[in-house]
Symmetry: C2
C-alpha cells in the first residue's frame, strides 16, 4: 500500500498559522480513510529564509522537493520587506514554470454560512471550476524598454501562446467538463480586441471541441464574461482561460461567492512528472498575521484538492463535507465570516467532523 510523501511549505505570514490546521485535518482524514501520508517540512520560500540566506530557496530546492507526491503550500510574500517580483517569482511562479504546473484549478462554489455579495443566491446555485493556463500567455518574460526618459520612451511585453501550451490546457478543461453532469465548457476570449493571440486561442478551442462531441461549449469575451459572473453565475460549469484571464476569473469567482478568504487552488502537473502545489488563494496577509484569527478554510480545502489529485477521493470528499458543516455553524466560523472562532478552533472543528 502506497505511502504518499508530501512537502509542506508554510511560507510567510498567516501561511504559518493556517498550515498547521490544514495538516491537522489532513492527518485526521488520512487516519479515518486508511490513507498513509508522510509530511516533510521546509522553511524556504519565505521572507524568514530570505533574510537569513539572501535567496528565496536553496540551490538544490529541486532535489529537496522535486520527488514528493505533492507540495502543500501556505502563502508567500511580504511586500513591505521584499518586493513581489523577488518573493513570488523566486518561489510560486518558479514552481509553476519549473515543475510545469500548467493547470491552475480553482473551484467557485457558494458554501453554507458564507454570505454572498450577490442578491438572492443560495448554496447550490453557484458551483463551477475555473481552469487557468499557468505557464505562458500574458505572463511572459519577453519584452523591454527603449529610449528611457525621453518622449519616445516605450515598453513592450509579448503575450506568447504555443500550440503545445494551449492545446494541453484546453484538453484538461474539456476532459473535466466531460466528466461533469452538465458537460458545459465556457472559453474566455477577447478576439475582437486582442487580434492575434486571442483568435488563435479561439481556433484551438474549436479544434479541440471536435474531440469532445458530448461537451456543449461556448465562448465569451472577457469583458462580458466578468459581467456574467455577477449577473448569471449559474450559467457556468467549467470556465477555461489564459494565464491572465484565468487569474482574473479565479479571483472574481470566489468574490461572487462571498470571499476569496476560503478559496483553494491547485497548481497541477497532470502527468505527474513533477509535484503539484496546493495552496489557498489568499496571500500572507501581513495585516492580520500573528493574531491567530486567520481563516484556515482555504488551506484545509486545498488539502482536500490535494487528496483528490492523489486519487484519494473519499478522504477528499470527507474534508469538503466537514468544511460545509463547519461553515454552517456560526460559532465555528472565523470572524471574517461573522463567526467567533479563532484559527485553531475552526481547524479543530473541521478535523472533528471529518
Amino acid at each position: 500500500k502506497k505511502q504518499y510523501r508530501v512537502a509542506v511549505i508554510p511560507g510567510d505570514g498567516i501561511g504559518k498559522e493556517v498550515a498547521p490546521e490544514g495538516l491537522r485535518v489532513l492527518e485526521q482524514a488520512a487516519k479515518k480513510h486508511g490513507v498513509s501520508v508522510h509530511f516533510d517540512h521546509f522553511d524556504f520560500a519565505s521572507w524568514d529564509y530570505y533574510e537569513k540566506h539572501g535567496e528565496m530557496m536553496p540551490e538544490d530546492w529541486k532535489a529537496k522537493i522535486g520527488k514528493h507526491d505533492a507540495i502543500y503550500f501556505g502563502a508567500v510574500g511580504w511586500p513591505a520587506k521584499i518586493p513581489d517580483h523577488v518573493s513570488l517569482w523566486g518561489s510560486l511562479i518558479k514552481f509553476r514554470r519549473e515543475f510545469d504546473q500548467y493547470v491552475n484549478l480553482r473551484p467557485v462554489r457558494l458554501m453554507p454560512g458564507v454570505p454572498s455579495p450577490l442578491a438572492n443566491r443560495k448554496p447550490g446555485d453557484i458551483d463551477f471550476w475555473v481552469v487557468r493556463e499557468n505557464t505562458e500567455g500574458e505572463y511572459s518574460s519577453v519584452g523591454g524598454r527603449m529610449f528611457p526618459d525621453t518622449d519616445r520612451e516605450f515598453v513592450t511585453q509579448q503575450t506568447v501562446m504555443t500550440r503545445i501550451g494551449v492545446d494541453r490546457i484546453l484538453k484538461f478543461a474539456f476532459e473535466l467538463a466531460q466528466s461533469r453532469p452538465k458537460k458545459h465548457l465556457t472559453s474566455a476570449t477577447k478576439s475582437n480586441g486582442i487580434s492575434i493571440t486571442m483568435p488563435y486561442w479561439d481556433e484551438r478551442v474549436e479544434a479541440m471541441a471536435k474531440n469532445y462531441p458530448k461537451v456543449k461549449w461556448d465562448k465569451y469575451h472577457i469583458d462580458i464574461l466578468t459581467a456574467n459572473f455577477v449577473l448569471h453565475p449559474d450559467w457556468f460549469d467549467v470556465v477555461v482561460g489564459s494565464n491572465l484571464f484565468g487569474d482574473i476569473l479565479s479571483d472574481l469567482g470566489p468574490a461572487c461567492t462571498g470571499t476569496i478568504g476560503i478559496a483553494p487552488s491547485g497548481n497541477i502537473n497532470p502527468e505527474g512528472h513533477f509535484p503539484s502545489v496546493f495552496e489557498p488563494v489568499h496571500g500572507s496577509a501581513p495585516d492580520i498575521a500573528g493574531q491567530g484569527i486567520a481563516n484556515p478554510i482555504g488551506m484545509i480545502w486545498s488539502g482536500a484538492m490535494m487528496l483528490e489529485h492523489l486519487g484519494e477521493k473519499q478522504a477528499a470528499a470527507s474534508i469538503v463535507a466537514a468544511i460545509e458543516r463547519t461553515l454552517g455553524e456560526r460559532t465555528l466560523r472565523t470572524r471574517d465570516l461573522g463567526g467567533n472562532a479563532d484559527t485553531v478552533a475552526c481547524g479543530k472543528a473541521v478535523a472533528e467532523m471529518v
Copy 2:
C-alpha cells in the same frame, strides 16, 4: 452664439432604434436650455452599408465627419453576417485610433429602478468613473505566428505602452479625480505577474501623482480589483486602467449596477483636435433588433455625456435627471428592467421630463 454640428451614425441592429430616441431627447434638452445643435445623418459604419459597398465606410469618411464637434453613434456589428474584425476594426476602433480618442470614459452608477445584482446596495452607494486607455496597450497590431500546423507552432502579440500614451491617460484620470469631491484615484495593475509593461504603468502613475498632491491614490492588481468591484463598489471614485483592464472594468462595473443595457460611454479626444464618439456600451443586439423593445437609456445617457463634453453642463444634467426619474417609474422602463414601455415610449418619457 455657437451652433454645434454633430454627426449621427445609427449603425446596426438596435442602434437604429435607439438613435432616434437619443435624438428626441437631445433636441428637447437643446431647446429647453437654448443650445443650438445641427445633426447630420450618415448610413455608413453598418452592415447595410457594407452589403452595398463592400466596405464599412467610404474612402473619404474623415472628410465627411472629421470636422464635426462630436459623433453620436448607435451600435455596430452583426457577427452572423460580418466578422467582428471587419465591422469593429473598420469603424469603432478606426475612430479611436485615427481620431486619437485616447480616453474611454464610462460612469458606473446605481440608478433608481434598476435592480442591482449585489445585495443591499441602493442608488447613491455606487457612483464612480472608469477611465480606460483607448489606443494602445494590449490592443496592439504587432505580433504574428510561426511554424504553423506543427508542434512548434506559436503566436505572439505585443502589449505596447508609450510614455506619451500612458502619461496622457493618467493625466486625464488624475484631473478628473481632482475635480471630484472624494479626489480618489485607483489604478489597475498586474505588476506582480505581467512583469515588464505593468511595472512601467505603476512607475508612471507614481510620477504623475506628484503633480496632484490633493488626490489620494491607490493601486490594485486587476484580479483583486475585479473582486473588489463586487465586494466593495463603494470604495471607488475614479478607476484608471490600460486598454484591456479598462475594457473589463467598464463592463463589470455596469453589471454590478444591474445591467450593461443602460451604460453610456465616450471615446474622447480631450484636446478637441478630432471629434469624440459617444455611444451606448451595449452592442447591436441582433436577437432583439426590429422588435421596438430595446432600452434607449444607454443611447440617451451617451447624449448627455456628449453635451457635457461640449461644455453644455446644464443641458447634460437635465437629461441625467430625466433618466433617473424615468427609470424610477415601472411603467416607463423597458421590459429588460421589469417595465412595460417600448423603446419609443421610454424615449418620449425621458424627453418629456427633460
